[in-house]
């Protein structure tokens, strides 16, 4: 879904001019996507909070440097990814840049500690199935589940992943998700 580029351009322009309402609108528009990146890297809640905040503090001083406002989403995704990688590396987890697929799962609270908030059985089953996927699949889907959803370009920047491999990987991950969902719904009867 293409971003409303002229809308973003106008908001960036207004924020540059000092209008805090425009800034709030940018936060509302892109906040979910930045948060999804933080969570996709499986940071603790406190680390995710820090990354989320520092990304926006960076942006405040970089508004002038973002010449093409349609690149804002990609800029936010890249910045969030780098901050996540810094924290992961600082925590002593060896993560070569560009090899995020090698990340393991540091905390076992993925996909999130608040599964109790899910309103329907179906939603709970989906969430459980998501949590049973490979780290690579969880990371991709978590980024793509932001609301509003990111463009493929933003996903690419958020994960250091070629645009061309996003669609096929998403398809494969959803295929796995369906299998997990099947065994959850089947109560595990078929697995013994």
């Amino acid at each position: 879904m293409p971003e409303d580029e002229s809308g973003v351009a106008a908001l960036v322009e207004s924020a540059r001019a000092g209008e805090s309402q425009a800034w709030d609108d940018l936060v509302a528009r892109f906040g979910g996507r930045v948060w999804a990146v933080c969570r996709a890297y499986n940071l603790s809640r406190a680390d995710a909070d820090d990354v989320f905040q520092v990304v926006w503090m960076r942006l405040v001083n970089s508004l002038d440097a973002i010449r093409e406002p349609d690149r804002l989403g990609a800029w936010l995704a890249t910045t969030a990814r780098h901050e996540c990688l810094r924290l992961l590396r600082k925590a002593g987890r060896q993560v070569p840049v560009g090899d995020e697929a090698a990340l393991d799962r540091p905390d076992d609270d993925t996909p999130g500690p608040d599964a109790g908030l899910l309103r329907t059985e179906r939603a709970a089953a989906l969430w459980t199935a998501l949590g049973a996927l490979s780290p690579e699949c969880q990371r991709l889907l978590r980024v793509m589940l932001a609301d509003p959803p990111p463009s493929y370009q933003e996903v690419s920047e958020a994960l250091g992943m070629p645009v061309g491999s996003i669609g096929p990987t998403r398809g494969r991950c959803l295929h796995h998700l369906r299998s997990k969902l099947g065994s959850i719904n089947g109560g595990g009867a078929g697995s013994n």
Binding site: D24, N61, A123, L145, G167
Partner: protein, 163 residues
């Protein structure tokens, strides 16, 4: 393009989109963007730097170095370089836990005043004749340095970074 290329007879792209929509709703319920985070992002606007030049992060050993497994010790300090037109700020960040410390130097070397902005509130120290300065007791979270070189070259603020 068929999202399920190669899976042979799997559900189509339409079904994938439907599952993604359901998952998106679940994610919105189980892991919503916290209201405090939104508030912090909005408040960031107050940190707009209008009266100083921005020194951009040009180097961060944490990102740039390709550590060999087992070589990089836990205590290895992290080095960061921030560059503005007339001034470079070199920073070494060390320490863990609730308090960290920053050692830094203004380049070219010169005395001046350096203000630390962090969650503990602002703190100011003098840079010595070599441009060196130190901040103990830096709290975790976003950090930036505001540097006033004595040469009168103009105030420089570094990009925000996480210690």
């Amino acid at each position: 393009m068929n999202d399920d290329a190669g899976l042979g007879g799997g559900p189509g792209a339409h079904d994938d989109d439907a599952v993604m929509a359901e998952l998106r709703q679940a994610a919105g319920q189980a892991d919503p963007l916290p209201a405090e985070s939104v508030a912090a992002a909005r408040a960031a606007f107050a940190w707009r730097t209008l009266d100083a030049e921005l020194a951009r992060l040009a180097y961060d050993s944490l990102l740039e170095d390709q550590p060999l497994a087992g070589v990089r010790g836990v205590g290895t300090p992290r080095l960061l370089t921030f560059e503005a037109a007339g001034l470079t700020v070199e920073v070494e960040a060390a320490g863990e836990g609730p308090e960290r410390r920053l050692l830094g130097q203004l380049v070219p070397p010169q005395p001046g005043r350096v203000e630390l902005r962090h969650r503990g509130g602002p703190a100011t120290v003098k840079a010595d004749g070599m441009g060196r300065f130190a901040f103990p007791g830096v709290l975790p979270g976003p950090v930036s340095l505001r540097c006033d070189p004595a040469s009168g070259a103009g105030t420089v603020c570094t990009d925000w970074f996480l210690t």
